[in-house]
Subunit: 341 residues, 2 copies
DNA sequence: TTGAAAGCGCTAACAA
DNA sequence: TTGTTAGCGCTTTCAA
């Protein structure tokens, strides 16, 4: 392995000068720099990032903790986060906790403030939240996708107004004339997505809908469980004309179930989700949903984390992401008399 | 930050002893170890992984390079790879190259043999392949999901017999009586998936099918382009009764297109893919596909990479993953007289 | 079984 | 503008 001092020797300078060339080029005379650069090229020198990290006390690595990357929402977030990190000169380490607090704790313990200059934690449940708070002393931690802007957590966070997302979904269904509505609330990979369902319920109430008529189900966060929940739902509440799911996976699962049961979407039943994952527009019928601008939030989160690392004073405790927006596609339509039994 | 020597001082031993306690516990007397452990607990000591990495010359970090994590195949691989890495005491750094050789080169240059003890590279095209070969001198690199077991690359790899996957798909369609077949070949995130299509073609030939009747299209690797390609296909070849796609995304896109065009799947047209991503069984109709055991291959790849790092002599240049298997679901059925124009 | 000491490769004062 | 020097926190011979 070629080291800094070998480069220095070859360029007939000292290690300090090489180091200077490698970062602030100002302090070194152009001819010297040239010589150093050439030596670097000739020797094929590559800096040892571990040594640099140790000397600098920072590793240029950010960690992203998430519960399960197989949930299609995460890859989209990761993609944007990795780009943002890369552009800012950081690496991104993905830490998958498998929904296991033990693993989350281990990761947090090992990397916060050591391997990673900062940690971005997504969709925390209460246990995870506690862990993060106690891990804050080790290094900067930021919560991404915090769902309750009205009650900031005890850690820095990037929040998204998910209650508003729920309200937008409610408004859309109401405007289409639906009154027999069912709601599927996902577990959000650890933390119940209740900001979304609360927002939805509040809007219904505001518009004078009797919440007693609202069929409610709590389910795991996946297409499969959306499918199962929808079947169960219609066995119990056959007169439902619209389904609100707190995320797109559930909504997609519901649509699949409806199709299997011979229900037309949206003619018999409308379905709306939240998030606007890729799949939402790739399905047929394409899913109506409330977009939360995953990319923008990911970028904002990375930028905020970096600021938290570099200038902690300048980073506000809570940053609010862009507002959710309704994306109308083909899975919702006006209420019609149901043709089936 | 609490350091090793602070722990040592508190336990009234030297740093070397603490270090010994932290790894090979044999060499130290139980009572001493006990004192050290207590000091660690009292001080809340956490080892500095950068320092350890520098001293040991290894970072316990593995890097996974892939072209675009938003492709649903990758998260499934990442999930399994991360688990395997974690269980083996390694971290996993995800490097997304955005299909950009520049970014790939930069990553390889920066991390191979430095930040990462080893690098797993997926789905390389030729450019990437060259890069990897020249980066091998920096540190262990292993190609995952090599598609051509019959021609091993110039690097260590874990291969999967994708030609066989194509052949299995062909056999299935032939057994169902299909003769008017179309083939959608994906670009595989950089490297054309031609092992799959070659295997498919070879099987057809073997069974005496005239390849001239095989409509062939090359497309980008996504649901959207599968959709578009399928529409285009039927405009030109309306008599096709079965579609083979070299991966599930294309197959899923094709099904969506068929549904939109009013074609029943599988009654009018059968569709088969390769991979068996999660989505394949979550769709309606559920997709018939050839499973390549992503999880097992990911695990095998991580294990192989670790062996390549620890005992390079014991790691064979090419390891063959489990054989692909046909998974029959609802998107394929016997050929029937087509009812449409 | 424990301690002493050197060093991993780089950075960052400070001095020249 | 360049060199000297002293670490960063840990591991690892080697000696005691």
């Amino acid at each position: 392995m070629v080291t800094l001092s070998e480069v220095a020797r070859r360029a007939r300078v000292t290690a300090a000068t090489v180091s200077n060339v490698l970062r602030n080029r100002e302090k070194v005379r152009p001819e010297t720099a040239e010589r150093v650069l050439q030596a670097i090229a000739e020797l094929g020198y590559r800096p040892n990032l571990n040594a640099r990290a140790l000397a600098q006390g920072r590793s240029s690595t950010l960690a992203l903790m998430l519960s399960n990357i197989a949930n299609p929402f995460y890859p989209e977030f990761v993609l944007a986060a990795e780009r943002a990190a890369r552009k800012a000169g950081h690496f991104l380490m993905v830490c998958n906790t498998d929904d296991d607090a033990q693993i989350g704790r281990a990761y947090l313990n090992q990397i916060a403030g050591t391997f990673a200059d900062g940690v971005l934690v997504m969709n925390t449940d209460i246990a995870m939240n506690e862990l993060c708070i106690s891990a804050m002393q080790n290094g900067p931690i930021l919560l991404a996708m915090w769902e309750h802007p009205e009650k900031p957590p005890a850690l820095p966070c990037v929040a998204v107004d998910f209650a508003r997302a729920g309200a937008l979904a409610a408004q859309h269904l109401l405007e289409l004339g639906h009154r027999n509505i069912a709601m599927l609330t996902g577990d959000g990979c650890g933390g119940l997505q209740d900001a979304r369902s609360d927002g939805f319920r509040a809007k219904l109430l505001e518009e004078g809908v009797d919440l007693a008529t609202l069929a409610q189900l709590q389910v795991r966060d996946s297409i499969d469980s959306g499918y199962a929940a929808c079947q169960q739902l219609f066995a119990q509440h056959p007169r439902v004309t619209a389904i609100f799911a707190t995320n797109d996976l559930l909504a997609i699962g519901a649509i699949q179930a409806l199709v299997s049961m011979g229900c037309a979407v949206p003619d018999d039943v409308s379905v709306i989700g939240i998030t606007d994952i890729q799949l939402a527009h790739q399905m047929r019928p394409a899913l109506t949903t409330v977009a939360i601008q995953t990319e923008a939030v990911a970028e904002l989160s990375i930028r905020s984390l970096i600021r938290l690392i570099d200038e902690p004073d300048k980073q506000p405790p809570m940053v609010l992401g862009p507002p959710p927006e309704l994306v109308t596609r083909m899975s919702t339509g006006p209420r019609r008399r149901r043709a089936r039994g």
